[in-house]
Symmetry: C2
């Protein structure tokens, strides 16, 4: 199973004229395995546990490479920090207004809803969307009454 995934990872890279490297692999798996959306710095710290000599510049370069292959993308974050996630099954992002944690919420918008939006959009051709939610996570909810 992992072999298959790894092969397709290599293929996607190859299709975009990019080579497979250990660094790239590690970065990709960090971004795709974490359910929250790490910052470049966080990815760097995590990657260093596997590749102690990796540098932050390599993280940035590889994130760009992954993005150009469609394997990852930058995500919006209500607090303004730049974060990354891999393009997986559709889901929404819920950011806690209190602690800043990001939770993934499964699901997509309904077709009815989507065509309504598409209608409002007029000449703008909608390719994709992302629903950013904000509020209070279970941990912070009790305090939010203040």
């Amino acid at each position: 199973m992992d072999d298959v995934k790894n092969t397709s990872f290599r293929n996607v890279l190859a299709e975009h004229g990019q080579r497979y490297t250990r660094q790239r692999d590690v970065i990709f798996s960090i971004v795709s395995k974490t359910s929250d959306h790490p910052t470049a710095e966080e990815i760097f710290l995590e990657a260093r546990t596997l590749l102690p000599s990796i540098s932050l510049a390599t993280i940035y370069k590889n994130l760009d490479a992954l993005i150009s292959c469609g394997l990852a993308k930058k995500v919006n974050h209500t607090d303004g920090s730049r974060r990354y996630c891999c393009r997986a099954d559709p889901h929404h992002h819920a950011t806690c207004l209190s602690c800043g944690a990001v939770t993934d919420i499964p699901g997509t918008l309904g077709d009815t809803e989507l065509s309504r939006v598409r209608n409002e959009a007029g000449d703008f051709e909608i390719v994709g969307y992302e629903l950013e939610l904000n509020g209070y996570c279970p941990k912070c909810k009790p305090h939010s009454i203040s």
Copy 2:
């Protein structure tokens, strides 16, 4: 009409222990009048036409002040740039994948849709949401076929 708005602007500031200043007013009106979502730098350049001696640090400080009063918020774009917008009537953001321009699209999600999402969210208490769309704006659409 503008007087009323201005009074309420002052009130909101006062409620949050913030003072009314010309700089604050200018920055707020720039952010609320532009339909696209300017970066701090863009706000700075615009503000300088009215207040030639304003500094970029003042822009940042005031944006924080406005945000803390709920008068503006940070939005990130798919391209990773940090931008600001004022909290006005509900709308979606459509970012052009080709030229990066951001268009506001009026509308809200339907109640049915929203309660579905709320349901999926479980213990996470949803306060607000933002629908980020991406695709191609009318200007770039013709080229997107390539």
